[in-house]
């Protein structure tokens, strides 16, 4: 299929002898050759997010000799990132991600141009940021940004190489290709805030974004050199647990508000609002369950008060650390509430206080009169009462 993102080769651009040696394994393949490598040299790719997906993406694009790479990320490197964000090393903890990423990529390939944008991507800056680049690669981790990237790409007519992950599952596709679908064709609306589990409940197998990000890099390279069949109109699904790939057909929605025949979205909107209010449920209201702080709980336990500590986390979390509480995972609570004595005062806790708030509300509605929620969960207990309790 003729790809319309092919970068036309300008006669003035050439490869030095060093570059020819560096890219020899590309050059000896007819699918790339000098022509393809020159296209790579002139290509400009913007990577949104340099985290789990951005790591293999940046590395492989730099290795391939993409002439200009832009990296957008406003975060700093955190210890918990190192389980999967392999662009960084332990000494980078605390550094801005774009700085650490640019340094690592320059070490890999000093011949390419790397521009860092240590800024959140917003409706105010997205169009200007994207304009200079040929291809945008979405390596972000939240819904508002995904819709922002999608819409900006459609408005600017630039392809969007999409990849996303959750635990063991990944999705990859290319949106914004001429006559192809966009992200909104697939998912017109985001899930309501709070319905999709947070990192604490979600987690991710570290290598999964490695696989998905590498596939995004492969698709980006194919778009640039104009060879092979890109994932346009195709959603590639990966289940890393079974290591099975499936492919679903994606169609362009003629009624799509952004890329359809009669678009109603002609400029960037407020995406936080789109994801918070357009979602089918109202944003979570503050909990009405009484709370107890870790210090208060400790004081009462030391005093010998008769409190029943209920832990609503999962068994594998209990093994990391626990307060000796009685374990009933939140998902099992409705079935197992009969194990609890409603005459006793129950303090519910989880990791950060969110799940236990839900548990406490459930129990109160079920007639348990004396239930409180441990504010901040076991994380706050570690901070305020006993730092020997590990945080995770």
């Amino acid at each position: 299929m003729a790809t319309k993102t092919e970068i036309p080769t300008q006669p003035a651009v050439s490869l030095s002898n060093q570059e020819i040696l560096r890219y020899s394994r590309h050059l000896i393949m007819p699918e790339v050759g000098m022509e393809g490598q020159l296209k790579l040299k002139q290509a400009k790719v913007l990577c949104i997010g340099t985290g789990g997906l951005g790591a293999p993406l940046g590395l492989y694009l730099a290795a391939a000799g993409v002439g200009r790479l832009g990296i957008v990320d406003f975060d700093n490197v955190d210890l918990t990132n190192l389980q999967r964000q392999i662009l960084f090393s332990s000494t980078d903890v605390g550094r801005p991600k774009t700085e650490a990423a640019a340094e690592r990529l320059r070490n890999l390939n000093p011949d390419i141009r790397i521009d860092s944008y240590e800024t959140p991507l917003t409706s105010e800056n997205a169009l200007d940021l994207f304009r200079d680049y040929d291809i945008i690669v979405d390596g972000t981790d939240n819904f508002p940004t995904r819709y922002l990237v999608n819409d900006a790409c459609i408005l600017l007519k630039k392809p969007n190489v999409y990849g996303s992950i959750f635990r063991f599952e990944g999705q990859i596709s290319i949106f914004g290709y001429p006559d192809g679908p966009c992200y909104r064709c697939l998912y017109p609306e985001p899930p309501p805030a709070g319905l999709v589990p947070s990192c604490a409940e979600g987690g991710v197998l570290g290598v999964l974004p490695g696989i998905v990000g590498a596939i995004q890099a492969a698709e980006t390279l194919k778009l640039i050199i104009g060879k092979g069949e890109p994932l346009v109109g195709r959603l590639l699904l990966l289940d890393a647990l079974t290591m099975r790939f499936r492919e679903l057909k994606l169609r362009k929605n003629a009624e799509c508000p952004v890329c359809g025949n009669h678009p109603t979205v002609t400029k960037l909107i407020d995406y936080a609002e789109f994801c918070g209010i357009r979602g089918e449920e109202a944003p979570a209201r503050p909990s009405t369950v009484p709370e107890i702080t870790p210090r208060e709980l400790k004081a009462r336990l030391d005093r010998g008060d008769d409190l029943f500590v209920l832990d609503v986390r999962e068994p594998h979390e209990y093994q990391i650390c626990n307060l000796g509480g009685y374990l009933i995972p939140l998902g099992d609570l409705s079935r197992r509430a009969s194990e609890l004595d409603s005459s006793r005062e129950i303090v519910a806790h989880c990791r950060s206080g969110k799940r236990s708030a839900e548990a406490a509300e459930f129990l109160r509605k079920a007639g348990f009169r004396k239930v409180t929620n441990l504010k901040g969960g076991i994380l706050a207990w570690s901070d305020e009462v006993d730092s020997a309790v590990p945080k995770y």
Partner: protein, 93 residues
Amino acid sequence: MPVKVIIPTPLRAYAGKQESVELQANTVGEALASLTNRYGDLKKHLYADDGRLRSFVNIYVNDEDIRYLQKDATQLREGDTVSIVPSIAGGWR
């Protein structure tokens, strides 16, 4: 018709931790009804209060989106795979 329904990771907790469920159904609508009858908690994740499928969830029969087939009325044949594909954004936040 015996068909397989594939449960995506974010919803497995509400479907007895299964990654797929075998059931009998002649249409997509019947398959989803059978599924949500078996796993009540799944219902509120798949359907809004007005009974419509949530718009961040897509249903496929084999590799075709039911929105481009006959939606809930899409006929199923023996051995068809019904996939539930929700939007995911991955990672932190």
